[in-house]
Amino acid sequence: MADFLVMAGTLVFSFAVGYALIRRIPALLHTPLMSMTNAVSAITILGALLLFAEETGSLETALGAAAVALAMFNLAGGLAITDRMLRLFRKARKAGEARAESAGQGRAEVGG
């Protein structure tokens, strides 16, 4: 029962804190946000690795290996794509600054 309470508490706490944090993220970053959380959800790889803690039969080995591979595909791919996207946002800022400077205008003025 204590175990159950700890688990339920963990679930509710994480959900609530996540909710409070995510609400503050601007729409500008929603695509990279989804891409990053997608990679975080691939933390199922922990479960897949735990399967191998015991001796595994051939079916279990195959299924477990598939789970590890797919979770890792999701995890590494998701983080890499998120990084690529966020780099664009940085570059955009620099490019914008360069243009604003060359035009001899301040950013605040351009932003209006």
Partner: protein, 474 residues
Amino acid sequence: MHPALATVIEVAIVLCLLAAFWRFRSPLTARGANGMAAGALAAAIAIVLVRQPPASAWAPLAAFAAGMAVGCAVAFAVSMIQIPAMVAFQHGAGGVAAFLVSYVELSRGLGSASAVNSVSGFAGLVIGAGTFSASMLAAAKLANILRGRPTRFPAHGLMLMVLIAALVPLCIGAWTSDGWARHAFLTAMVLDAAVTGLLFAVRIGGADMPVLISFLNASAGLAAAFCGVAVQSRLLMAAGATVASSGSVLTHIMCVGMNRSLLNVLWSGNAPQPKPKPAQARPAGQPPAAAIAGSAPAAQPASPLERAAALLRGAKRVVIVPGYGMALANAQGRVAELARRLEKQGKEVLFAIHPVAGRMPGHMNVLLAEAEVDYEKLREMDEINPMLPEVDAVLIVGACDVVNPAAIGAEGTPISGMPIIRVHEARAVVVCNLDDRPGYSGVENPLYDDPRTVMLLGDAAATMSRLADAAGRA
């Protein structure tokens, strides 16, 4: 490793993940936040490998390396235009991992695990399999491999109900049997859930895709969280629940952006049907607005292009409203180029992004960022709307429903009450859409017939280039 130490490290990892979400609020810190999440995930993997090392290492190691290599290779190969399909595909991969882990855990023995763990295992199995099939379908639609329009079968809702109800006896069967019988029951559950996912996703399409993809984001997280309960890993639980809440927030934002309830989008499936343009809207023989403009009396310049260019030349403040049509025409580079030219002429150019523009949350922002548009010029709907009466020219590129004033004026249409970018309050509007047909909702756009509107129909990329040239000729 001492259990207390392990707990401390686990808590630190969860805090690290939450801090990553906190730092994701600004584009300046978001990249670091992503790196932080990567570090936290790597630490989580390391701690599991140290505490419970694999009995035989080659299989998980090979799978690990292969997954990482393919994941990174694909991540660097995809273009930004393919991001929605790619993200959907990855949701699917996460779903598979969740149901496979649950499957093995359940097949190993329900006797040793507590009832809570077992029930969670079944939940992880079903949600994982459903997320997988629904995501694959969504990815195919987003990549335009499948038709984006929703497909409805006869008795669609009933079939879904039956499939979901059938999971209960299958679950009881798996619980009470063992050996190969249990494998059979579990496999049947996976298949049932997968078909349910397909039926669920197949009737959502077009402009409703942002809701579906956000929902799958949440369900992938939920599957991971249940998986975590099943294998008794608090880290997995906490991270899964956080992702589930993130997906829920995005789903909620998308629904609010369309003024529809989640149930309305996902279940009742009354997403508007495309309907043929009613004949009475424009009597036969009367050409559409663009052509009218073209053959208008001498008071107006010759072509719509000239009129649009003149509007832009005379404007001080221009707002560009991109939609899915821009992504479809791959016109974001040309749009950005036009914006730069206008800025060189000393005009102020801003971009107005509707929350549900495109096929996933934030879709337009990423495309414009790739086209090197400064992200500080990208404005959200609520921010731009009060400014629009002071805007000289609005340029709509491949958007229809999100700027349709019928959402405010007309009652009883699928978009009634949907918040829109109020471009009709601007001084003039230039519509650069492929055609003058209604958008996904099927609701006629009165903006197209407004005398202050100039229609530039055709491929958005070509239109942008012509417009940039024409507006540049002073």
